[in-house]
Symmetry: C2
């Protein structure tokens, strides 16, 4: 069996596990969002801002993927939402079986929205369907405007690109127009949001997008 065969088998197995997850999430009427970015782009910080904005109204939960440390789940539990940490032990992405096992072992209760925060990595998580409704790619303004074309797969697969840390724009060179052009080329019809968890910029738009997607999912399922 070649390396390519092994990879194809792994992805095929993952697709089966992801289909099971997707059916489970449909039955539970839970909107599921898979967050993918570089380390330190602000995934957990965006979730903290989301919990602060929506936590009183919606039942939110999170699965956190990291190679080591429980820190991200701790941050979200501190805000009062159920969060489970998956430690991948060196693996560079979450897969659907890990998510399924985590949900079996740690009941997060009935949820309106489940956030799956992937391992910080713009490459490997892209190939693994986790049964989510959609992927988002986060890009902080400090990373530079050349990233969508350098990491095209994730920006093509993500329905939503969330630019983060917009409050730092005065201090760095970041050409938002270039990012917009690249994202539009890679994902025609995709959504680009510009946010700052520090100033609150864009958080209302992000929450409105979640609300709309949840309504669509529940409208479609009723």
């Amino acid at each position: 069996m070649t390396q390519v065969d092994v990879r194809q088998r792994i992805l095929a197995d993952n697709a089966v596990a992801a289909a099971t997850l997707r059916a489970r999430f449909a039955a539970a009427r839970t909107l599921v969002v898979n967050l993918i970015s570089s380390p330190g782009s602000g995934k957990t910080t965006l979730l903290e801002a989301t919990v602060r904005a929506l936590g009183g109204r919606w039942r939110l939960g999170a699965i956190e993927g990291d190679i080591a440390t429980d820190r991200d789940a701790d941050r979200l539990r501190a805000l009062g939402i159920p969060a489970h940490q998956i430690l991948t032990g060196g693996s560079c992405h979450l897969d659907a079986r890990q998510v399924g096992r985590a949900l079996e072992e740690h009941d997060l209760g009935p949820l309106d929205v489940l956030f799956i925060e992937n391992v910080g990595n713009l490459v490997c998580p892209t190939s693994y369907d986790l049964g989510e409704d959609f992927k988002i790619a986060l890009l902080s303004v400090t990373e530079g405007e050349d990233k969508p074309f350098k990491y095209p797969s994730i920006f093509a697969k993500a329905a939503v690109t969330v630019v983060t840390k917009a409050d730092l724009m005065p201090y760095v060179s970041f050409k938002l127009d270039e990012v917009r052009a690249q994202v539009t080329a890679l994902r025609p019809g995709g959504t680009l949001l510009v946010t700052s968890a520090t100033t609150g910029q864009g958080i209302a738009e992000w929450c409105a997008l979640l609300e709309q997607r949840l309504a669509e999912k529940r409208g479609g399922g009723s």
Copy 2:
């Protein structure tokens, strides 16, 4: 053959190719540095600052690893040093065979220092020896101080951790003491440098470190 078997075989093949590269670099008396970080941490920017500081005195060259775009090699060639771009076509890291092939196909000439800028990824490149003298891990202050313990493998394997974008420290929460403590725990005796390519902070120390390592390599080989 299981997934684990395949991975072990891939790493064993890589080790053989890396040993060949290391012998080649020893014969050429070239110091080789493998740069690893998240996307957008400032690898190419550090190299630009290094070329500006040392390019007149030393023969420098670079191999750039990216999934797509020749942009990074273009940036270095614009400064007058030979640079070759390896496009991995989706792969999340460079391997020793890719580097060997690149050197066969694109002669960079005799070099004092060869920089190998890996694909932007804090996880996967860590496992692949490229025949380098040492690895450096870059961490920008905007990524947050929790990263060494979240991505322990690279910070344990890197002889040098280079904190970048120190000029942005006034605008972000970044606890340098915590990074120092984590890096010391993961790599006792390792070196931590604090740099800014914008202000020039730490660039002289970085160049002095390269100079010392090159002298050691040539002293040891003479």
